[in-house]
């Protein structure tokens, strides 16, 4: 397996972007009509990669218009790096064309598979955390990074099943993946929380054992409780326990660009921006408390 670092990558790119928000068609008119109080937005890549092989149309026109006012990251849901299928080169070429057109600050996808034998399930399905899956995923990720000529960020997914064949924890798998492929991580704090409840592990153990220098971005979203399972629905306000975990994460890792995602049961734009504001307040507070703690520690040492 090739372990080459793709050319023209910037690696971790900690632009001072603080808190951004996911761009969804539901909010197009607000984003186009009034400047959102956020320095960056994240677009779902597949929504702008054309239709039936043809590039163009309203979505890409909107995205290009917004590019003038915002930094934009591209977040994919269909690269399916964990699938045993070959990489979809047509998909990768369309993504490459989009990155050349939009010049995103970074590009991400998920630690998952989304289909098998070219049939798409349109969901983020979990992998068994085995050496076989690790080598397979790292190999395809390496191919994708070389094709796109950029380092990708890989996001942890929410999961509802785990596999008896797993040989390591998810955070050990992610850590090993960064070492093998040179990829960055997109840490979805809500997904960690959801999986921790569904599989009964400590979410902080997961987060605190991730490699500090590999985290590119944080995601926050809401979830729904369904009996004894928690489902990652992105259709609710962010849960208080997730906010707490987020604050602890920023205190531990320092400043990291953070994104609010909402995909259903959309609140008003004003309410969405209030959630962005809350994230910013927690972000500032976490960093401020960190500085105080460092100062106090220094004082004690003196």
């Amino acid at each position: 397996m090739s372990q080459t670092t793709p050319k023209n990558t910037t690696g971790i790119q900690h632009i001072d972007l603080e808190v951004g928000v996911g761009l969804r068609p539901f909010y197009y008119s607000q984003f186009l009509g009034e400047k959102a109080h956020t320095p960056w937005i994240e677009a779902i890549s597949e929504n702008y990669m054309g239709f039936l092989g043809k590039q163009g149309g309203r979505p890409i026109h909107v995205l290009e218009s917004l590019r003038r006012d915002y930094d934009i990251s591209l977040h994919g849901v269909s690269m399916s790096l964990g699938s045993c299928d070959e990489l979809d080169l047509k998909y990768l070429q369309q993504l490459k064309d989009l990155t050349q057109r939009i010049q995103p600050c970074w590009v991400s996808d998920h630690l998952c598979w989304t289909g098998f034998q070219r049939e798409n399930i349109h969901d983020l399905l979990p992998l068994p955390y085995t050496q076989e899956a690790l080598y397979h995923f790292a190999d395809k990720l390496d191919q994708a990074q070389n094709f796109l000529q950029r380092t990708l960020s890989i996001e942890n997914v929410s999961s509802y099943v785990a596999f008896s064949s797993s040989e390591m924890s998810e955070w050990e798998f992610l850590t090993a993946l960064t070492k093998k492929s040179g990829c960055n991580l997109l840490l979805d704090v809500n997904n960690v929380y959801v999986s921790s409840k569904n599989h009964n592990f400590d979410p902080w153990s997961f987060i605190s054992q991730l490699p500090k220098n590999s985290i590119q971005e944080i995601h926050l979203a809401g979830h729904t409780t369904n009996g004894d399972l928690i489902i990652d629905t992105h259709d609710q306000a962010i849960n208080e326990a997730v906010w707490e975990l987020y604050k602890k994460t920023i205190q531990y890792f320092g400043p990291l660009p953070t994104l609010i995602e909402r995909d259903d049961n959309f609140p008003t734009f004003h309410e969405l921006m209030n959630e962005v504001q809350r994230a910013r307040t927690i972000y500032d507070l976490a960093l401020c408390e960190n500085k105080v703690a460092i100062r106090d520690n220094a004082h004690v040492t003196l």
Partner: protein
């Protein structure tokens, strides 16, 4: 258990429209599975079989709900005429016949018109196939690109003298279909004598659809050849028998942004 076997089994079980529990009962499923389904369940962590099925069902439910939600949003007229329950029933059959092979969830409906045409579930509603095609063309139009040139400011002031010498720039997002059904009016009726021609296009704010006669449709198709308006009218042999109010027709096309620009 190899990664490939796990993925083969999971995708097979998740896509079975009867649900995970039925899929695992070893009864004939939409796609044959090489491995033993009940043995494969051992690969999922959990104490009881019931718990494992419940956890897998989250994915099976999400698979159908996500695609159903997307399709209902993309085919609102079809949903209206079928009703929620019938739509889901039809979709379950459709996904077995045409599983998604695209990363873009919006493209899943590409075979829907043909599927409805060849399927006997809704024989009493023969117009559904054309309705599905109409709505899919609408999605295609949404992803079309408007002409790169800005619209000419004087377009609305087009006078009779311009008609004789100017060339037409059509809105290049136009998609069209023909149908014997009057799809834009309820109840949908079948015409034994004529075909309706539907032109869908983007305008500056929305997707619009217009219905034209065969004569008007031919004229618009001829506009693609970028002839002068005069040449267009000279070649219009139908108007000899059925006079067309030229000015009214062109003003309508301009107003509706079917004609995007006139180049003097």
């Amino acid at each position: 258990m190899s990664l490939s076997k796990i993925q083969d089994w999971m995708s097979w079980a998740i896509k079975d429209p009867r649900g995970i529990a039925h899929a695992l009962e070893n009864t004939p499923a939409p796609r044959p599975l090489k491995s033993e389904p009940d043995r494969m369940l051992e690969t999922i962590s959990g104490v009881t079989e019931e718990e494992k099925i419940k956890r897998l069902s989250v994915y099976a439910d999400a698979y159908f709900i996500r695609i159903s939600g997307s399709m209902k949003s993309d085919f609102p007229l079809l949903l209206k005429f079928l009703g929620d329950e019938n739509f889901d029933h039809m979709l379950a059959h459709y996904l077995v016949a045409h599983p998604s092979k695209t990363p873009n969830i919006g493209e899943i409906g590409i075979h829907l018109s043909k599927f409805l045409n060849s399927n006997t579930i809704f024989e009493d509603k023969a117009y559904l196939s054309d309705l599905a095609l109409f709505e899919f063309k609408k999605i295609e139009t949404f992803y079309s690109t408007l002409p790169s040139t800005e619209k000419h400011n004087s377009l609305s002031k087009l006078g009779p003298e311009d008609i004789s010498t100017s060339r037409i720039v059509l809105n290049n997002s136009i998609n069209f279909l023909s149908s014997p059904y009057n799809l834009l009016h309820e109840p949908i009726t079948l015409s034994e004598e004529i075909n309706y021609f539907y032109h869908l296009r983007l305008n500056t704010s929305d997707i619009r659809s217009l219905c034209f006669s065969a004569h008007e449709h031919t004229l618009i198709q001829n506009m693609h050849h970028k002839m002068t308006i005069q040449e267009l009218l000279d070649g219009d042999t139908v108007s000899i028998d059925t006079p067309l109010n030229v000015e009214e027709f062109f003003q309508r096309l301009i107003l509706e942004e079917v004609i995007w620009d006139i180049i003097p």
